[in-house]
């Protein structure tokens, strides 16, 4: 991650800004009122903003979702390499799995294999941190984190082996 500069703006809020790989400066002001402004700096005069975009709460969520999606995938990819002895994997739930259509809690996966289900992917959608009463459905993909050994056991468990 590039260096993010933090500047206090008395009476207004806090500004964070950084230089993109392309050499452009981008910043965000977090106003005390909860509002955010997105700042795009001028390349000719790096001290001034070419564009200031005011973001309401709704806009904020939309933008965060759009940017966050790729961000999370990237982080997961990094995670795979960065945690030694830990693995992350995407396990398919097949139609003949004994747990298809049953609540997640019933698999007792964590107790039995030491592996945690951190997300369920259903169709195009992701259900992050699913609760134990979340139903697993056929053709879901379970995103799991654990030891390589544990993940093997988890796959067997989902298949009913």
């Amino acid at each position: 991650m590039p260096d993010v500069d933090e500047t206090r703006l008395p009476g207004v809020g806090i500004r964070h800004d950084f230089l993109t790989e392309e050499g452009k400066r981008v910043g965000v002001i977090s106003h005390f009122s909860g509002r955010r402004s997105l700042l795009l700096y001028d390349t000719d005069d790096p001290d001034s903003c070419r564009e200031t975009i005011e973001l309401g709460e709704e806009d904020l969520r939309t933008l965060a979702d759009l940017l966050g999606a790729s961000h999370v995938t990237e982080h997961l990819a990094n995670l795979r390499q960065s945690l030694k002895g830990m693995a992350i994997d995407w396990l398919p739930v097949e139609a003949n799995s004994p747990y298809a259509g049953r609540p997640l809690g019933e698999t007792e996966m964590r107790t039995r294999t030491g592996v945690s289900i951190v997300a369920l992917i259903r169709g195009g959608e992701t259900i992050p941190s699913p609760a134990p009463d979340e139903t697993i459905e056929a053709d879901d993909t379970a995103v799991v984190v654990g030891t390589a050994d544990g993940i093997g056991k988890a796959l067997a468990l989902l298949r009913g082996e």
Binding site: D3, P10, G11, L19, L39, D45, P46, D47, C49, E51
Partner: protein
């Protein structure tokens, strides 16, 4: 007058309604042109004053009471603008630009006041008038022109914070000087004022959270009534102790934490706008328009001089935090606008009747800077481009980070 047949209350409402409608239209014009409405309010007040008491025969008292509340709310919101943390932070970090600001912008006002042959206290008040930038205008310009993210902006805001800080000492000092009490009594009042200031800061730093929690509520109505009640009580108590309501309201604003400040700004902001309009009208009503032409030259000279000194102050402060030529120019020009607090300070003197010309000079001065500042602000970038076009390398870029 035929209107009188309608009965006092009807005329009172008609007068107030017509006045507010007029001010509303003027404020709308000012907003379109990105100008401060304050000069327009002052002009309306001046004209009303010249017409004699007739147009506001019934509403005059209401305007006077409104002006008193307006003064209290203006200063309360000034205190509210920055937290005690920001004040102490700015004290440490922008001490140098802050002192330069005082030296460059307070001195011309005092000097011109003395040259006009005024009482030293009136001259000191004029120094305050030329010293304090309008935080209302500055923040509006920074927001409207999308400059909040700019590199020079923290320098501008820090100067505003410092001016706020300077007011903690300045307000009680001039209040005591105006009261013109003996040395012992005066020293006692100054000690009391400083103790109250220190007390407010202490409360803000140590107990700001619990104090604010006591006021914090989900109901806007409860919040509005309790907060306004507390402000008026504090202001009244300060006035009773001869510290002036202005000082009390300012200290009350300082003592509240950020969380309450945001809510208070939303809810009390509109009230402040309403009563502050009454304050500006009332201030201008007291000015004899005939006293304006004789001081016109002094006003324009002082305005031009202090526009230059503010420009320099802002540029130096922006340079100190690494802004380039354009940024320095922008920082200087945005600070040129003087406004509400210059009038507040002059109002303290006018109310006490220490110098008949003070009101006219202050009003003329605020009119002049309010017209000049937007022009300077808009020209800042083109002028900087022209001045530094041949020498772009002087522009300091963002620090290199590999």
């Amino acid at each position: 007058m035929a209107l009188a047949a309608l009965g006092g209350n009807a005329v009172l409402l008609l007068e107030l309604g017509a006045l507010l409608l007029l001010l509303g239209l003027l404020a709308r014009l000012a907003d379109r042109a990105s100008l401060s409405p304050i000069p327009l309010y002052l002009i309306v007040g001046l004209i009303l004053g010249q017409l004699g008491g007739d147009p506001i025969a019934f509403s005059g008292d209401v305007i006077e009471i409104g002006a008193e509340i307006g003064l209290v709310l203006l200063l309360f919101m000034l205190g509210l603008e920055f937290t005690a943390d920001e004040l102490s932070d700015s004290m440490r970090r922008s001490l140098r630009p802050g002192l330069i600001d005082i030296g460059l912008n307070l001195t011309p006002g005092v000097a011109v006041g003395l040259l006009l042959g005024w009482d030293p206290v009136a001259a000191l008040l004029l120094g305050g008038v030329t010293y304090i930038s309008s935080s209302g205008v500055v923040s509006k310009v920074l927001t409207d022109l999308g400059r909040l993210g700019n590199r020079e902006t923290p320098a501008v805001l820090s100067l505003l914070v410092f001016e706020d800080l300077a007011m903690i000492a300045f307000l009680p000092l001039v209040t005591v000087l105006i009261a013109g009490t003996g040395i012992v009594d005066g020293l006692g009042l100054i000690a009391l004022a400083l103790a109250a200031g220190a007390g407010a800061l202490f409360v803000a730093v140590r107990h700001g959270e619990s104090l604010s929690r006591a006021l914090d509520t989900r109901s806007d109505e409860v919040f509005l009534l309790t907060t306004l009640g507390v402000i008026l009580l504090v202001a009244g108590a300060a006035e009773g102790l001869r510290l002036s309501a202005a000082v009390g309201a300012f200290l009350a604003g300082l003592a509240l934490s950020r969380q309450v400040a945001v809510q208070a700004r939303d809810l009390l902001g509109p009230l402040r706008d309403l009563f502050a309009a009454a304050f500006f009208i009332f201030f201008a009503l007291q000015i004899d328009a005939a006293s304006l032409p004789p001081v016109a030259l002094a006003v324009v000279g002082l305005g031009a001089l202090t526009a230059a000194t503010k420009l320099l102050t802002g540029s130096l402060a922006a340079r100190a935090i690494g802004a380039g030529a354009h940024g320095q120019m922008r920082a200087g020009s945005v600070l040129v606008a003087r406004g509400e607090f210059s009038i507040v300070l002059a109002g303290l003197g006018v109310g006490a009747g220490i110098e008949p010309q003070l009101g006219a000079v202050a009003a003329g001065y605020v009119l002049f800077t309010a017209l000049l500042a937007p022009l300077l602000t808009r020209w800042a970038d083109p002028v900087a481009s022209r001045l530094f076009a041949a020498n772009r390398s002087t522009t300091v870029g963002p620090p290199d980070r590999g």
